[in-house]
């Protein structure tokens, strides 16, 4: 039976640009991130935070296949970049409204394969206007090297912050 371990919990009492989990143990089979985030600055169609593995800020280390919508016409595609996995409401969205992001990183600790993450992320709002809401599903291949994932950072981006009360949880799952 699968067993979950709560590796880390970060609840922001003040705005912060970055949340980092370092020295992640390799003793689990999979990792799962659950994040409730909101961006401190304005912007349409939500804000895409960076999700960095092992500290890499090189966009070329990340390949993404995504399906997204912020209008009535979804789009899909492939692109590089470290900021494709998630979406969150900006200060242009309804007050007190946070996004919901779940990221699975299976088999994260092996040293033979590139690592792939699968994310589902929503930025809700009380608006039907185009680009005042956003949805995102993304498969991200981190192919800098085949090292185990030992560090994950989430960066709000644009020099701005995750607002206070944003929360970030990292779980390790042992067993199928």
């Amino acid at each position: 039976m699968a067993a979950w371990t709560h590796i880390a919990h970060d609840s922001l009492s003040l705005p912060a640009t970055t949340v980092t989990w370092s020295s992640i143990s390799g003793s689990y089979d999979h990792l799962c991130i659950k994040a409730s985030m909101r961006y401190s600055a304005s912007g349409s169609a939500g804000q895409k935070p960076d999700v960095l593995y092992n500290g890499s800020t090189t966009d070329a280390d990340y390949s993404n296949t995504y399906l997204i919508a912020s209008t009535t016409t979804p789009t899909s595609g492939n692109t590089g970049g470290r900021d494709q996995a998630a979406i969150m409401p900006t200060s242009s969205f309804l007050a007190d409204t946070f996004g919901s992001t779940v990221i699975w990183i299976p088999h994260y600790s092996n040293s033979a394969n590139f690592k792939q993450a699968l994310s589902q992320s929503v930025a809700p709002n009380n608006s039907t206007t185009n680009d005042e809401w956003a949805l995102r599903v993304c498969a991200t291949l981190f192919h800098e090297n085949t090292d185990a994932i030992t560090e994950i950072s989430m960066v709000a981006g644009g020099g701005q912050n995750f607002v206070a009360h944003s929360t970030f949880d990292l779980y390790g799952i042992l067993g199928a």
Binding site: T72, T73, G99, N126, D169
Partner: protein, 167 residues
């Protein structure tokens, strides 16, 4: 205590008009997992209401994979949060749809509206959805009621499990 616990499971031995979870415990996050079907003559959806609030305080945005043309859309001022396709009476009797809903930070001391992150699939009917739900209310979630959107009942054999995930 385990990090993820099944708070409650409801397995329908007979058709039921609604399913209620009213003891949500004290966790960081909730997750609903459903295998569900309704008695509507065709496909249906699941509605969620929190804390018995049936006012026009809910919004949803969806992205739908259907045939070769994906779709998306939005609804505001709704009286419920609703997901996507689940099978109805026109589908094979053994066909139940799968729905998973993450509800993060459902107890947040009044700082956040409640956000739902729905993933819904009904393979034989050819639909898959990612849906956001917004309950425009910063109260802690203390109860969850599930009802069919159009049908009268969830049918026998539907199963609903609410999980709590620890901080």
């Amino acid at each position: 205590m385990a990090v993820i616990e099944a708070i409650a499971t409801t397995y329908l031995e007979a058709d039921a008009a609604s399913v209620t979870f009213s003891s949500l415990g004290s966790y960081e996050h909730l997750q609903l997992r459903m295998s569900v079907r309704t008695d509507r003559f065709e496909h249906d959806m699941v509605r969620i209401n929190f804390n018995s609030d049936t006012g026009a305080n809910y919004s949803r945005h969806y992205m739908r994979g259907y045939a070769s043309t994906p779709q998306a859309g939005a609804d505001t001022a709704q009286n419920y949060s609703r997901g996507g396709w689940i099978p109805g009476a026109d589908m094979d009797a053994a066909d139940y749809g799968t729905t998973i809903v993450d509800i993060l930070d459902y107890k947040d001391d009044g700082n956040k509206n409640t956000t739902l992150n729905w993933l819904v699939g009904a393979a034989t009917d050819g639909n898959v959805y990612l849906v956001s739900g917004l309950w425009d209310n910063t109260d802690d979630v203390t109860s969850i009621v599930l009802v069919p959107h159009n049908g009268s009942n969830f049918v026998r054999g539907s199963e609903f499990t609410l999980y709590g995930i620890q901080e």
